[in-house]
């Protein structure tokens, strides 16, 4: 019953997508607005259909309808309700179904919000989004059909992957990731629309700015949530392992970040047209590539889903997308020549160029490292993996340069910087750099990258705060406002700019967290008997007892630990091993005591059956919490940047594009 309903709605959505894409293109070519209109309707109806299909699946999961293949695969009567619901995205088929919903939602809202924009740009973009949608619906009725009827109906299922059941962040990470990944489809579709329609000025960029930033926020948050999950669940006290799945979400983030910066150059100076189009096309293709890498089983990864024929569909889609985009990008030739030119090497646009160069190099490095095992196996027949040292060696210099530019860019004006401006803006940050770097050296830090990271973070922090201070001071003088009011109004009046700077502050916070936790991490393995304790940094950790407990969907073995500072009890920790579905392989759940200056992170590694001793891994991880806080700040900054502001609307009314401004299409 649900199988039929689910499969039926997806099949109709597929048919509608194909129809809509054709109708939009034919409608534009033959100037028949009613055809274009019908394509928009197809996009709206698709959203409703995908919503129904997803609800049907959630319903099937909740009522344990094991006649639906996906439920038989990930459902289990013992699993708590909440986990049952989120197991919608815990395995391949369900995640593609959810993906389809997100894509349909983006498509419908983009089509709706830009419906009044005249010209062929929007219809072409609509067609592009519908084609992308058609691909995913095709997966859903073909190789990744979650609604396959199962006969005979099993009495119970195995339950979702224990790794995913083990932490609340798994409820958060995948939806964020899909919202980020799929959101990149919108600017991509408008870029393709711009190429097809010949509207190659900055119109498409202005129209999609909010979409891009929104997707970028989700992608940033998803990456940070993924790091956090990895830290809290996997038990190795790390958050980034250059795992192919991590890389898959990181690469589009890098190109999207480059895009967010370089579009400003095009808006201001009419430069970098081809570059911007290429960046957003790359971003989109990298999201598809990332999905391919993680869903096809082509690379080895802790998170990889099962393999099947689905990989071939993705290869086909990537090939078509790449060929099509390259033909459009190279075929336009002279039309895409930049109108503007660089005036001075000391200007904000130069910094943006460097930022883009570095981010591109970064992307290439990660791409090469990720694909190299596949290349090596295809060309030389050997199984290799690319070690983390490769990534660290290659990307750390790039990270340092980016951190430095983060401070330089906002302080430089467009076109040309005068020497006295430079002096005024960089004296304090320069001093901060020297002081912090010197202090790190004096405190015994000897890793060059550690010293550089702290120094540059100080430099950039001062430079960025200086921008806020300068703007606020100007307002205080001009309007006689109090400092806080001036700061608030300053941000409110120019949300895009200061939202960006706030995101920069988040990046600095992350950089400091990463630098501190990776340079000063201390790990120690120890076997303790009940009553014994071990020294960990400023604390003593005492092992009290080992216990076990039956929970509905799992069996837990845990250890009670007491944390003491100078002999006084200051907290308790209970690292656990969770056994799901009576598998004899447990999932580690570390116990973490988070404090601003350092985390105390303890794993229960092994234990004696009678509780007479247990082995722990005790880790001191300095300042790691600033990574998560930084992620939050980045999201906040992005959020401020997409908020519509009074100032922006007025600006839009005066600026350049009469069409976008007049129709209010610049959403």
């Amino acid at each position: 019953m649900i199988s039929t309903l689910g499969f039926g709605t997806i099949a109709v959505a597929l048919a509608l997508s194909v129809y809509g894409a054709v109708a939009a293109v034919v409608g534009v070519r033959t100037r028949r607005p009613e055809l274009v209109q019908s394509a928009s309707v197809a996009a709206y109806v698709n959203f409703a259909l995908l919503a129904i299909a997803n609800l049907a699946m959630v319903y099937a999961l909740v009522v344990h309808d094991f006649s639906v293949s996906y439920v038989a695969q990930v459902g289990s009567r013992a699993t708590p309700l909440f986990i049952t619901i989120i197991s919608l995205w815990s395995a391949l088929e369900g995640s593609i179904l959810f993906w389809g919903l997100v894509l349909a939602a983006y498509t419908a809202s983009a089509v709706y919000l830009h419906r009044n924009h005249p010209g062929p740009l929007v219809p072409y973009a609509t067609a592009t989004m519908l084609v992308v949608g058609a691909f995913f619906y095709m997966l859903l009725i073909g190789p990744a059909n979650p609604f396959e009827p199962v006969w005979p109906v099993p009495a119970d299922g195995p339950g979702p992957n224990p790794l995913l059941q083990n932490h609340i962040l798994m409820a958060v990470h995948p939806p964020l990731l899909y919202l980020g990944y799929v959101g990149m489809t919108v600017p991509f579709a408008f870029a393709i629309g711009a190429l097809l329609s010949g509207e190659l000025d900055a119109t498409w960029i202005r129209m999609t700015r909010r979409w891009t930033v929104t997707a970028w926020i989700f992608l940033s948050l998803a990456i940070v949530a993924g790091m956090w999950w990895s830290y809290e669940v996997l038990g190795w006290a790390g958050y980034w392992a250059w795992d192919p799945v991590e890389n898959a979400s990181f690469m589009p983030w890098l190109t999207a970040t480059a895009f967010l910066h370089s579009v400003m150059v095009q808006e201001r100076r009419e430069m970098l047209r081809v570059w911007n189009l290429s960046l957003i096309v790359s971003t989109f293709l990298l999201t598809i590539l990332g999905t391919f890498l993680t869903r096809s089983g082509i690379v080895q990864s802790v998170h990889a889903f099962t393999q099947g024929t689905i990989g071939y569909y993705f290869i086909g889609f990537i090939a078509v997308g790449l060929v099509f985009s390259l033909i459009l990008l190279t075929g336009r030739g002279t039309e895409l020549r930049s109108a503007g030119n660089l005036d001075s090497p000391l200007s904000r646009e130069t910094v943006f160029l460097f930022n883009n160069l570095i981010l591109t190099a970064f992307t290439f490095t990660v791409l090469l490292g990720t694909l190299y095992p596949i290349l090596a196996e295809a060309l030389r027949g050997v199984k290799v993996s690319v070690g983390a040292p490769f990534y660290n060696k290659m990307t750390l210099p790039l990270c340092m340069a980016l951190l430095f530019l983060l401070g330089v860019g906002p302080a430089l004006p467009w076109r040309r910087a005068e020497p006295d401006v430079l002096r005024r803006k960089f004296v304090i940050p320069g001093i901060a750099l020297l002081v912090v770097a010197g202090a790190s050296l004096a405190l015994g830090l000897r890793q060059p990258y550690g010293i550089l990271a702290f120094g540059f973070a100080a430099f950039t922090l001062c430079a960025t705060l200086g921008e806020f201070a300068e703007g606020a001071r100007a307002r205080m003088r001009a309007h006689g406002e109090s400092p806080l009011v001036a700061l608030g109004r300053l941000i409110g009046a120019n949300r895009r700019r200061y939202g960006g700077y706030i995101a920069h502050l988040g990046v600095i916070s992350m950089a400091v967290g990463i630098a501190a936790s990776s340079t000063f991490q201390k790990v120690r393995d120890v076997t303790l008997k009940p009553g014994e304790s071990v020294r960990a940094g400023a604390y003593d950790v005492r092992f009290d007892q080992l216990w076990a407990q039956n929970e509905p969907h799992r069996f837990v073995v845990g250890a009670d630990l007491t944390v003491l500072a100078e002999g006084k009890e200051i907290g308790r920790l209970a690292p656990r091993l969770n056994f799901y579905g009576d598998r004899d392989e447990p999932i580690t759940t570390p116990a973490v005591r988070t404090r601003p200056h350092a985390d105390l992170y303890i794993n229960l590694m092994a234990f004696e059956r009678d509780g007479s001793s247990a082995t722990f891994q005790v880790i001191i991880e300095p300042m790691v919490v600033w990574i998560w806080i930084g992620g939050g700040i980045i999201g906040l900054g992005g959020f401020i940047a997409v908020l519509p502001g009074r100032r922006r609307r007025r600006e839009a009314a005066v600026v350049t594009d009469p069409v976008a401004a007049g129709k209010g299409g610049d959403v």
Binding site: P154, S296, I315, L322, L326, T330, L371, A378
Partner: protein, 185 residues
């Protein structure tokens, strides 16, 4: 659209696609099993009775089938993919009934009661299923999960091992050449 850009596009895309297609053919998570080309680890396992009250009686040894092709299928009633491949195995077992091919199921981490019910639902027992307490045999065969299928040639050597679902075509392709090795008395 002009020829030059089409050419560029195709030249960039083709190698990438070729590498990916090649990559799809190998399993990156493959840990070499202790198997192909090796003597198949022997076992002596009791046959799962098809009635609940029946005592397990016959012990089946792999060595008993020297001179025949043996298809070992590791399965469990809780395993969804096993449902998919079971009809194929049954079909091939019926097809080769009168030739020197022996099909044996080996139950993996499952209750005989559930397994019996499952077999009955799937159309009844066509070839015997063996019980593997403690999964000793599964470990000997380097099992990573179910379903997995191993084909042992007439000399007692592992000729084929498949992690995941098998289908009729695959089985016939492996069995046929091995049958040629069978020396008829």
């Amino acid at each position: 659209m002009n020829l030059r850009s089409v050419l560029i596009a195709v030249l960039v895309t083709l190698p990438l696609v070729a590498v990916f297609l090649r990559g799809m053919r190998s399993d990156p998570r493959f840990v070499p099993p202790a198997i192909p080309g090796q003597p198949a680890p022997d076992f002596a396992l009791v046959r799962m009775p098809m009635a609940a009250d029946e005592e397990p009686s016959d012990t089946i040894r792999l060595a008993d089938y020297r001179g025949k092709v043996v298809v070992l299928n590791f399965w469990a009633s809780w395993c969804v993919p096993c449902r998919v491949e079971h009809p194929e195995l049954v079909a091939v077992a019926r097809e080769y009934r009168d030739r020197d091919v022996v099909f044996l199921g080996i139950l993996y981490k499952d209750q005989p009661g559930n397994a019996r019910a499952w077999l009955n639902e799937m159309g009844g027992e066509v070839y015997p299923t063996l019980l593997d307490p403690g999964s000793r045999t599964a470990i000997d065969y380097g099992l990573t999960g179910v379903p997995e299928t191993v084909i042992v040639d007439p000399s007692g050597t592992v000729a084929f091992k498949r992690i995941g679902i098998v289908n009729r075509e695959m089985l016939v392709r492996e069995i046929e050449p091995l049958l040629a090795e069978v020396v008829r008395p």
